[in-house]
């Protein structure tokens, strides 16, 4: 059996709110997890069990105070918990993609460029990147007349489809999906099912939160149930 793409060891996380009496909110304790190439792991559990936090920890968006988050990157293993900022950015540029629930809109940047950006960051020239971006936007049913507009004025569903197009444009070995389909209709959820299956077929390791049970059944190859902090897992 080949080595996992992601390996998490003894991961614990809590938040300390210094300006609210120093209250400590535990999220989870001692999580171990392995994710292999070609699988789609769905994180499942009631809200507050740390599903989003786990995804953000893997992406380096949340600080990991305890435990190891090992990600295979460039033929080596990088520990996200110990990596320097520029190492995490390199990991994100070439290995890890992340689709959040909402697009972070940047003023004045047109949809086509928003989607092309991950490819540009990998050194692909503007023309090729924008051509790929157009194909991805078309796949997510964003009409061509919107491609050259900044997404700030788009509807929530349109923004989320731009977000998805951006998240799936580069063939990352690792994809992290935080409720990517919350604001989508059936036709567009089907597109998401397709792109996820395509990603696992080429060997990507996918970790996702899918609120919608149908969606989860359609893409997940394994489900990890998270229990509230303090309860026995």
């Amino acid at each position: 059996m080949s080595a996992p793409v992601i390996r998490i060891e003894g991961l614990s996380k809590s938040f300390v709110l210094h300006n609210q009496g120093g209250v400590e909110l535990p999220v989870f304790r001692d999580v171990d997890l392995e994710v292999f190439a070609g699988e789609c792991l769905a994180l499942h559990g009631p809200s507050g069990t740390g599903k989003s936090s786990l995804i953000r920890l893997i992406y380096g968006n949340y600080l990991c105070p305890q435990g190891r988050i090992l990600v295979r990157h460039d033929g080596r293993v990088t520990d996200v918990a110990r990596a320097l900022p520029h190492e995490i950015l390199d990991l994100r540029r070439r290995t890890m993609g992340y689709v959040s629930q909402f697009l972070r809109v940047i003023p004045r940047v047109p949809a086509l460029q928003v989607v092309a950006e991950p490819l540009r960051a990998q050194g692909i020239d503007a023309a090729a990147a924008e051509q790929a971006a157009g194909a991805m936007l078309a796949r997510f049913n964003i009409p061509e007349r919107l491609w050259h507009l900044a997404p700030a004025t788009f509807s929530g569903g349109e923004q989320q489809r731009v977000n998805l197009a951006r998240g799936f444009i580069a063939d990352y070995p690792v994809l992290l999906l935080d409720e990517p389909t919350a604001s989508l209709d059936k036709a567009n959820r089907d597109v998401v099912v397709d792109v996820i299956r395509q990603a696992t077929a080429r060997g990507a390791a996918v970790v996702g939160i899918f609120h919608d049970a149908q969606m989860r059944d359609a893409v997940a190859t394994r489900v990890l149930a998270l229990a509230p902090a303090g309860a026995a897992a």
Partner: protein, 264 residues
């Protein structure tokens, strides 16, 4: 002897224990960090937190009371910045560094045209051919989205946003590797600010510039910087990847700053 790849993997600027006081008053205290090639470092904190003092020390406009600053030259040699002679330091500032002031009046010569402001910087690094200078000036004023028929106008006749764009062109025309910016979008209208931010973001991405940007605006920091340093009372209370510091702040002061931002 380092090989090329190892060279790329070394910091461009290394600050160690930078401390500066004005008599009794502490400007900044024991600031240590490495800036990597292509990295944009944001420095945030309230006014009086020591951000600008630190920026002035890092850009060698002020020699701090204590600490060292090492800069890796194009040759790969390390320069001990505070030990350089005045002339060597000035040469470094002209050839390798840029400094964008909050107030464009501090970074421009108001008595000469926009084009001359940009061209001057090229002549300072040895350009002599008028046609070539004019061509580069035109190219750069175009890149900062200036109307080219205003190239011969005095900056004093421009709006604040236009002046700021001329100042940016003046700094980048000579191909610096490291740019310092002090509240580059401060004092501008929100719509003008958005345009300038978009411009700066594109330029730092495309040119692979390293930069240190001081701002009190967390949204500006999120948009422009890879890494963030949070200062309070002269000291760095927290530093890390920008989105990590803003989304999972560890220090009480950072938590206060982040939670104080109005949501729109």
């Amino acid at each position: 002897m380092m090989d090329g790849a190892a060279l790329l993997d070394a910091p461009l600027l290394s600050a160690r224990g930078i401390t500066h006081s004005y008599g009794e008053r502490i400007g900044c205290r024991d600031v240590t960090f490495d800036l990597w090639p292509g990295e944009v470092l944001g420095v945030v904190g309230e006014s009086g937190s020591g951000k600008t003092t630190l920026l002035n020390c890092l850009s060698a406009q002020v020699i701090p009371s204590a600490g060292s600053l090492t800069y890796r030259l194009r040759t790969g040699d390390q320069a001990d910045v505070y030990a350089l002679s005045e002339a060597e330091r000035r040469m470094l500032m002209r050839t390798d560094w840029g400094f964008v002031h909050q107030n464009p009046r501090d970074g421009l010569r108001m008595g000469v045209s926009a084009g001359a402001n940009v061209g001057e910087r090229l002549m300072a690094v040895g350009a002599r051919h008028y046609g070539a200078i004019r061509e580069q000036v035109t190219d750069w004023l175009g890149r900062v989205e200036m109307d080219l028929d205003r190239i011969d106008d005095l900056p004093s006749r421009f709006s604040g946003g236009m002046q700021q764009r001329v100042q940016i062109a003046r700094n980048l025309v000579s191909g610096p590797r490291l740019v310092f910016m002090d509240e580059p979008t401060g004092g501008l209208d929100v719509s003008v600010q958005a345009r300038l931010l978009d411009l700066l973001r594109g330029l730092t991405n495309d040119l692979g510039l390293s930069a240190v940007i001081v701002t009190h605006d967390l949204a500006v920091a999120r948009l422009l910087s890879h890494r963030l340093m949070v200062m309070r009372r002269g000291a760095v209370v927290e530093q890390g990847l920008t989105d990590q510091v803003l989304d999972d702040p560890q220090h009480a002061y950072t938590q206060l700053l982040v939670s104080s931002v109005l949501q729109t």
